[in-house]
Symmetry: C2
Subunit: 355 residues, 2 copies
């Protein structure tokens, strides 16, 4: 059973929790905004559902609420930050804002971050840039959950690539892990006691496994086996491409920032993540309105193209998310019973007003 909570109430709750956790008021607002976008976009795995995870990380000290994010190196087009185990959202927003500022001045800005933590949905950050008329990327490494092509040891993270570009009626908003699915999807199947489709995970012996409960437990325990790269097992359907994309993300995050590499992190989410942000001004290449109109026109061509029999819509990336946001701003956000219980226990532990 879901309980529907208004956008305003859920946001206010998150803000008071993070403030009580020890963050400055503005920082609490910033963290809540990243989580709220996930809940509004319908990406529940990265919204209120993650509050307990963050709460525990703060309690254990793996996230430092007093961390001072440090600028290690800087040029007019680049910056390297050491987040000193700050909340990933604060590091992410700081870094993306610097990349945006540089892109506005010079045309392009790259921000690299090390020693950060889970930063929420990767797509939050390039959307910040698109609101300013820029194109932008965001990537992060995570704790290991993906096996290499022909391998059975988790050596790569979820390693998402997010990209955003201004368009109408919504920006083109792409945010995808380079695994075939995220751990969240395995968890959902485990909770519902449903078998997974073939092609998501392999077990310790390297065989295709559809048992979600078994795989969820083995991944969390760091055992052999794991989630397959986008494209699946072996090379037949190009699993090596998803594997290669994931290495590319690690190259641009953990390697470039000189932070921890995915297999050096503990836990599936990873506590010492590195991020990569790149923003650039499309106005360097033409009139921004023309490029925006061309993008909007292409997305409309895709949506209007011939559908499969029985399918009523072709979606473009971000469309479902923005439609969900408009709906949920009006109608509220459905929160799962288990998540609601977690939120209430956090409120009780911190002595803040419950939801």
């Amino acid at each position: 059973m879901d309980t529907v909570i208004s956008e305003k109430a859920l946001r206010a709750f998150m803000e008071r929790v993070f403030e009580r956790e020890g963050f400055a008021a503005a920082d609490a607002v910033a963290i809540a905004d990243v989580l709220m976008l996930a809940d509004l976009f319908g990406i529940e795995s990265h919204g209120a559902q993650r509050m307990m995870y963050y709460h525990q990380n703060i309690l254990s000290g793996s996230v430092n609420t007093a961390a001072k994010i440090e600028t290690v190196r800087e040029t007019p087009v680049s910056v390297l930050l050491d987040a000193h185990f700050a909340m990933g959202q604060l590091a992410g927003v700081r870094a993306m804002n610097l990349a945006i500022e540089k892109a506005k001045k010079t045309g392009v800005g790259i921000a690299s971050v090390r020693n950060s933590s889970h930063y929420g949905i990767a797509g939050y950050y390039p959307l910040m840039a698109a609101k300013e008329g820029l194109c932008a990327f965001s990537m992060t490494n995570t704790g290991p959950i993906m096996v290499p092509t022909f391998g059975r040891e988790m050596m790569l993270g979820t390693n998402p690539v997010a990209f955003c570009m201004p368009a109408d009626p919504y920006p083109f908003w792409f945010d995808a892990s380079t695994t075939v699915v995220t751990l969240g999807k395995v968890e959902v199947h485990a909770k519902r006691e449903k078998p997974m489709p073939e092609g998501w995970t392999i077990d310790a012996r390297g065989e295709i496994c559809t048992d979600a409960e078994k795989m969820n437990a083995s991944i969390l325990a760091g055992e052999m086996g794991g989630i397959l790269p986008l494209g699946g097992a072996g090379e037949t359907n190009s699993g090596h491409k998803g594997y290669g994309l994931a290495i590319m993300v690690e190259a641009l995050t953990g390697v470039l920032a000189q932070g921890l590499l995915s297999p050096e992190m503990q836990g599936a989410h990873g506590d010492h993540t590195s991020h990569f942000f790149l923003a650039f001004d499309p106005g360097m290449f033409g009139e921004p309105e023309d490029i925006r109109a061309q993008m909007s026109r292409y997305l409309q061509m895709l949506r209007s193209s011939e559908k499969l029999p029985g399918e009523s819509r072709i979606y473009t990336p971000g469309e479902k998310a923005f439609e969900s946001m408009h709906r949920r701003m009006e109608q509220g956000i459905p929160v799962e019973e288990k998540t609601l219980g977690e939120l209430r226990s956090i409120a009780e532990a911190l002595g803040v007003e419950a939801i």
Copy 2:
């Protein structure tokens, strides 16, 4: 039956063909170098095998041997070129060299190209940058061959993403289309009269099709149906991610360069392609040797990780290609009978010394 031809002889042949086609000597050398890298890397679909395609494009005038590549807009970090239907390789090399030059001066360079043509393997260009110690991307749109998720009309190209970063003993070299497979793989199955694996293509009715001959013909004829995105049909195994990546590539190529969009091009390869190149200096973020060592160490960790039963190796992207290059530099390049016949007929038509 393959005929083995030495690297030197094949390269010299390509150079004299392109010179006779009307290119300046230096340009003929540059075009041949892109094709030769594909043959050396074992990516036969993009080497000598493409000579006939280029020859026909030059004959038909869709590629202009006398094109003057024009700089339309330029900033210290960016350039937009109009290739005026030059050979894609010449546009690509010019653009990547400009991106490299800018990256060396300012830290980053982005080059956008419109009205180009088929530029060979996408991975040639970022490798140019990696040889100079830089990290780089290359992307291109192509004629339409991919159907959207839930669609049956070809609206997207092969749309590869290539990325390269310095490492030892080889650079990290990633070059992958965002389709599950390229048209070349469908062609190879058609030639060998072998059924394709399920999950590569859908036919006009939107049903999974394993008949390579039928699909090759229908794709070349521009009929309904086409190649699926990386991740396959529907959303079960995340075909929407491959679809989204392909749109991202179109956004950064045809849209940003304000060139033709994939579905506006004629033919599966596309004659009015747009490209995107981005190079940046990792030295902005740390000591280049440290970052290079970290990358090399990670790639070695992947290769050394636990293998599937029965598998003797885990590859990292580019390894097969560089191993093939070393072998083929010494032992020569196997050229298929059909391709050899095409090369000889080009030689005869142009009156240059045959191979």
